[in-house]
């Protein structure tokens, strides 16, 4: 299984925000789309960072008047990115070990999607459920003969 398997069933929407937009706008977007992170891209569509719920929580604890800050002030700039052909098993290990929950996926330098740890877990769960089901069917088929 690869990252592409997850992106294939996520439509075409990638929710992005510009670095100069405010955290107020960012919160509105996170709420409107029920997502946990925003990909930050510049005018040319190049990935410049990622802004997660955690980044905002951390800032809110330090600074109650954070709403008007620019996204660029608190976003994570060193973003680990994936590629469509990346193996899900490797992605799962890396996200767990490095403790991040959203992976922007680049193809030819362009952001083509974001996958969450939840997406990875669900896809792996479905893979295992499918294998168990297929094995059970074969065992039942065997005993019927």
């Amino acid at each position: 299984m690869t990252v592409a398997t997850i992106l294939a069933r996520k439509g075409i929407k990638v929710v992005t925000i510009r670095p100069e937009q405010t955290l107020r706008e960012a919160l509105a977007m996170l709420a409107a789309h029920s997502i946990g992170a925003l990909v930050v891209t510049d005018g040319a569509g190049t990935l410049v960072g990622i802004l997660s719920e955690r980044d905002i929580v951390r800032e809110a604890v330090r600074n109650e008047r954070f709403f008007d800050l620019a996204v660029s002030a608190i976003m994570t700039k060193n973003v680990i990115t994936g590629q469509p052909a990346d193996d899900l098993s490797a992605v799962a290990t890396t996200m767990t070990n490095k403790r991040f929950r959203h992976l922007p996926v680049l193809d030819g330098g362009k952001v083509v999607g974001v996958i969450s740890l939840g997406d990875v877990v669900k896809t792996q769960r479905d893979e295992y459920l499918g294998e168990v089901d297929t094995l059970q069917t074969q065992l039942i088929g065997e005993s019927a003969h």
Partner: protein, 476 residues
């Protein structure tokens, strides 16, 4: 829409069209029939005359246990509100608008119908084929019976190490006695009986730890009656990156797979008439041909692995090349869905444009009311047959949610009899499920006489003639 008007009752059943009668279509039908308090009528269409899709035409004929899943699908088809229409093709006999006029919901499960190309010079030389065409041919798919595969070749390359590649290599190595126990098509059985194949190369671009094949599949290769499995010890020695990846995320199945391959590398050939050679860390760069345009060799580049930021180990070409003389090449380097006429397509991933199974309108970026998808045409080709069950369940959950919100189609003619008459007017030769059961019985009977699971009908005209005789007998 008020609750009173909402379909799903005995007086007014929810009418669903399922396009594609493979495993995903049957899983979805089963899940729809199991919804509490919902009365649903399902019409399932397939462009071929018979149901079960890749279970019949993809799964290898020597894997009858895997094909046994059809028994479960047959139970679904016994539901009184289920109908099958074989030989009915969307875009040829019916349009999406026709379906919208007769059903509340439309579900596409058309699979991944085409293979990816290698994109190298010489790919179209005579003797170079997509592995899926060979698979469809030996499984008796009516559209592939006129394909020619020159089995006078002594050396064959199979590019890829996924399950299709493994199936093709294994079938090429099977003895006539082994094949006689399968439901391989008569034509393929005859051709393979006289095959001159001596060496079959399976070519993997990454290392043994990254190979997609499962342990039962690789074990099976070591138990062939007529072929020794050959592995170069240097190619199954784990590289430092693979070793580190396994140390970080221990995985028993992968460790075991590497152990099995290393055990093969230590084996002495026992002198069986054929050899199945598994190669790793090589990619084809060119197919070489002779003056007549026939393949004579495959040029390979040796790969090394590198680590991407997510920890995936990917292959990268080195400067080392080798040339392998082969006369037949099967490529199995990935699959892609084909656009369904009238349905939005996501060309990037080769799937119907969708969100969790809801078909998405690319302009409005909103779901198309009443249209859904699941299986390989939703997520791309991945997983085993059973993987389509949770995948179909995700889509069916969307269908039920949308029904509850009243977001369904409002067909002008939502009655089963009307739809049946309409489909038959467009394709008078459509095949019913009862027709299929008749063909199934005949196939099994023909097989019994020969000690085989079944002997398939492989020609469309043969199927139509058989069914005409059946129906004709009742009318006179």
């Amino acid at each position: 829409m008020s609750d009173v008007d909402r379909p799903g009752t005995a007086a007014r059943p929810l009418r669903v069209a399922i396009v594609g009668a493979g495993p995903t279509g049957f899983y979805a039908a089963d899940q729809l029939f199991r919804q509490d308090g919902l009365v649903v009528e399902i019409d399932m269409f397939d462009r071929v005359p018979t149901p079960f899709g890749l279970v019949r035409y993809g799964v290898a004929p020597d894997h009858q246990k895997i094909k046994a899943v059809a028994v479960a699908f047959d139970k679904v088809a016994s539901h009184p509100r289920f109908r099958f229409y074989g030989s009915v093709e969307l875009g040829k006999h019916l349009t999406v608008d026709d379906l919208r006029a007769h059903y509340h919901q439309i579900f596409y499960s058309t699979g991944a119908q085409t293979d990816r190309r290698m994109g190298i010079p010489g790919e179209d030389l005579t003797g170079s084929h997509p592995a899926t065409e060979f698979v469809a041919w030996y499984n008796g798919h009516p559209d592939y019976q006129d394909h020619q595969f020159d089995l006078s070749a002594e050396r064959v390359a199979v590019v890829g190490v996924g399950n299709v590649a493994i199936d093709v290599a294994r079938i090429l190595c099977r003895t006539p006695a082994e094949l006689a126990k399968t439901d391989i098509s008569e034509q393929a059985f005859e051709a393979l009986r006289h095959s001159a194949v001596k060496e079959v190369y399976l070519l993997g671009r990454r290392g043994p730890a990254q190979a997609a094949f499962t342990n039962p599949e690789v074990k099976e290769l070591g138990e062939l009656e007529g072929a020794d499995v050959v592995v170069d010890p240097r190619e199954v020695e784990l590289d430092p990156l693979s070793r580190a990846a396994l140390a970080q995320a221990p995985d028993r199945a992968t460790t075991k797979k590497v152990e099995i391959l290393q055990a093969y590398a230590a084996r002495m050939p026992s002198g069986k008439p054929r050899q199945l050679i598994i190669r790793f860390l090589v990619s084809p760069v060119e197919l070489v041909g002779d003056a007549t345009g026939a393949v004579t060799a495959i040029k390979l580049v040796r790969n090394e692995l590198y680590q991407t930021p997510t920890g995936t180990l990917q292959p990268r070409a080195t400067e080392q090349f080798e040339t392998l003389p082969v006369q037949l090449v099967f490529r199995s380097v990935g699959y892609r869905g084909v656009a369904v006429p009238g349905v939005p397509f996501n060309d990037k991933w080769g799937v119907i444009l969708n969100e969790r199974g809801r078909v998405i309108d690319p302009n409005r970026r909103q779901p198309v009311v009443g249209e859904y998808t699941a299986g390989w045409i939703k997520r791309g080709p991945s997983g085993v047959i059973g993987t389509n069950k949770p995948d179909a369940a995700e889509t069916v959950a969307c269908m039920i949610e949308d029904l509850a919100r009243g977001a369904i189609l409002q067909p002008a003619a939502a009655d089963a009899a009307g739809a049946d008459a309409f489909v038959r007017s467009r394709q008078p030769q459509c095949v019913s499920y009862d027709d299929w059961r008749y063909l199934d019985r005949l196939e099994v009977e023909r097989g019994r006489a020969l000690g085989r699971p079944r002997v398939k009908f492989t020609r469309l005209d043969e199927i139509l003639t058989t069914l005409r005789e059946r129906h004709g007998a009742g009318n006179h």
